[in-house]
């Protein structure tokens, strides 16, 4: 935590958790779209997001984030009409997600290049978020650190290859947290690598070149 977590963020109101946090959850989806336009969005709102979301503009905020807007962008207010203008196919459903934080959204998305994915994330207060699931796999990261998500096949040596490359080619980069999750043995897996400082974009390119890596995404500190 630093002083700007308290005096800040600059945001579009009315709620740091229901509006600013929701934009940030949307932005995680935007990052996972990996430069392609989101074309189909299915949003499930749970708990307080479902109960009071509309009066807080949570729907607008999530879509704004998915389209890549920031929580301080005046466009948040007009996100529904902007989404319609872009031909974005979106729906909202209210459903109680068992065991989830009160402010939780599940977002299923499809992109213009035909890929699809899913994010489960919660807004935990003051605009801070935690992401707990990506593409059906358990993850645990928040918006206050720089996070690299590496989607890869569950094969021996992939983790060593990624971390070795990071160590040898980006020696200043320190990993502060690491976790791994997989769908099934030998299936798709996801590495969550949190770093102290902001990794350069070239690192992401280098990770993508490693065998059995499907994709790598950098989610900057929000």
């Amino acid at each position: 935590m630093n002083v700007f977590d308290i005096i800040g963020p600059v945001m579009i109101g009315p709620s740091s958790s229901h509006t600013a946090g929701a934009v940030r959850i949307g932005r995680v989806v935007n990052k996972l779209c990996d430069g392609h336009d989101p074309v189909k969005i299915r949003i499930t709102l749970s708990g307080s997001f479902a109960e009071t979301g509309k009066g807080h503009g949570t729907d607008k905020a999530l879509l704004a984030g998915i389209m890549g807007f920031h929580s301080y962008s005046p466009d948040v207010k007009d996100a529904l009409s902007i989404a319609k203008d872009h031909g974005l196919d979106y729906t909202f459903t209210n459903e109680d997600i068992r065991g989830a934080h009160p402010n939780t959204a599940k977002i299923d998305f499809e992109t213009s290049d035909g890929k699809s994915g899913e994010v489960l994330a919660s807004s935990i207060g003051g605009g801070n978020i935690t992401v707990s699931r990506v593409n059906g796999m358990k993850v645990d990261f928040n918006g206050s650190s720089n996070t690299i998500l590496v989607m890869h096949m569950d094969k021996p040596g992939v983790i060593a290859n990624v971390t070795n490359m990071m160590h040898w080619q980006y020696e200043d980069l320190n990993i502060s947290n690491f976790s791994l999750s997989r769908q099934e043995k030998g299936g798709e897996a996801i590495m969550t690598i949190v770093t102290d400082n902001l990794p350069p974009e070239t690192l992401i390119e280098d990770i993508r070149k490693i065998d059995h890596v499907i994709n790598a995404i950098l989610i900057r500190r929000l």
Partner: protein, 292 residues
């Protein structure tokens, strides 16, 4: 610094014979690996957004998303300018600014969460008033935001700044406590007096519940921003008069956390208790077409 105790802030400032804001700016620049100038520039942007939100929110025709609130800042400004107020132009003006910023927030305008969106009017209400009506320089007001922020960091780690966790005492209470400490510093008070101002505000708001009508950041949040401003000024003035807080600030914060923990779920932002459970509140939220 760890920002886990108010006493730590006071001790560090006293040790180097500086203001709390000076110590915090230096410490945060080092922690964030940036220069002090970069941090000041970032804080200046926040201050500019605060000033703009006073203007946006002061619009006569401003309406919130739900249509339940709007225009409070305008009414208070007109009344303040009539010069026939109980509190005087200075405090009435501060209330009008707090109402405007909070109204701007409810209308999906741009604000600075300080520490949260629901309590975003209190710090600008106090500090912009010090600049515009008391001749404090913007540079000093921006510096004092580092003091406010440091107190906020300790409150966040020791108690809470989320209504869903600690009730409104954690949101409007925290904002008023942070603002009061900043006001004392701007008036030339000692670091210890800043801590006492924080303590007095926390003691005055202890137990305030979070009970938003319809779950929206509007009723009673917007008006609590105006009363929060009054609390910040009154506690700062008590301290500057030489009155001490008998209970140290850190112990007040521990009490705030314990009280927050003891609050039932219904009084922590769920809109199931307090004002939100009154017959009128239920009627208001039913008429609100934007509630799903």
């Amino acid at each position: 610094m760890k920002y886990e105790s108010i006493q730590e802030l006071v001790d560090e400032a006293v040790k180097s014979n500086e203001k709390i804001s000076t110590v915090v700016l230096r410490d945060q620049a080092a922690a964030m690996d940036k220069t002090e100038l970069e941090l000041l520039e970032k804080m200046e942007i926040d201050f500019d957004v605060m000033k703009q939100s006073v203007i946006t929110g002061g619009n006569k025709d401003l309406k919130s998303m739900s249509g339940l609130t709007g225009g409070e800042g305008f009414l208070m400004r007109e009344y303040a300018d009539s010069k026939n107020t109980l509190c005087g132009l200075f405090l009435a003006g501060a209330m009008s600014r707090a109402l405007s910023v909070s109204g701007c927030n409810a209308a999906m305008g741009r604000i600075v969460a300080a520490p949260t969106a629901g309590s975003c009017g209190i710090i600008p209400g106090c500090l912009i008033t010090m600049c515009e009506d008391r001749g404090v320089s913007e540079k000093d007001a921006i510096m004092s935001l580092f003091t406010a922020g440091a107190f906020g960091m300790v409150i966040a780690s020791r108690a809470s700044i989320a209504g869903a966790e600690g009730g409104c005492q954690a949101e409007c209470g925290s904002a008023a406590a942070m603002a009061s400490a900043a006001l004392v510093e701007l008036m030339g008070g000692t670091p210890g007096q800043c801590a006492d101002a924080c303590a007095l505000v926390v003691a005055s708001q202890l137990g305030l519940v979070c009970d938003p009508v319809g779950g929206l950041v509007e009723i009673p949040c917007i008006k609590r921003n105006a009363t929060g401003v009054m609390l910040a000024f009154s506690c700062a003035d008590m301290v500057l008069a030489g009155i001490r807080s008998k209970i140290p600030a850190d112990e007040c914060l521990d009490a705030m956390r314990a009280v927050g923990d003891a609050l039932p779920d219904s009084l922590r932002e769920t809109a199931k208790g307090g004002l939100a459970a009154t017959p009128t509140a239920k009627k208001l939220s039913q008429n609100d077409h934007s509630v799903p």
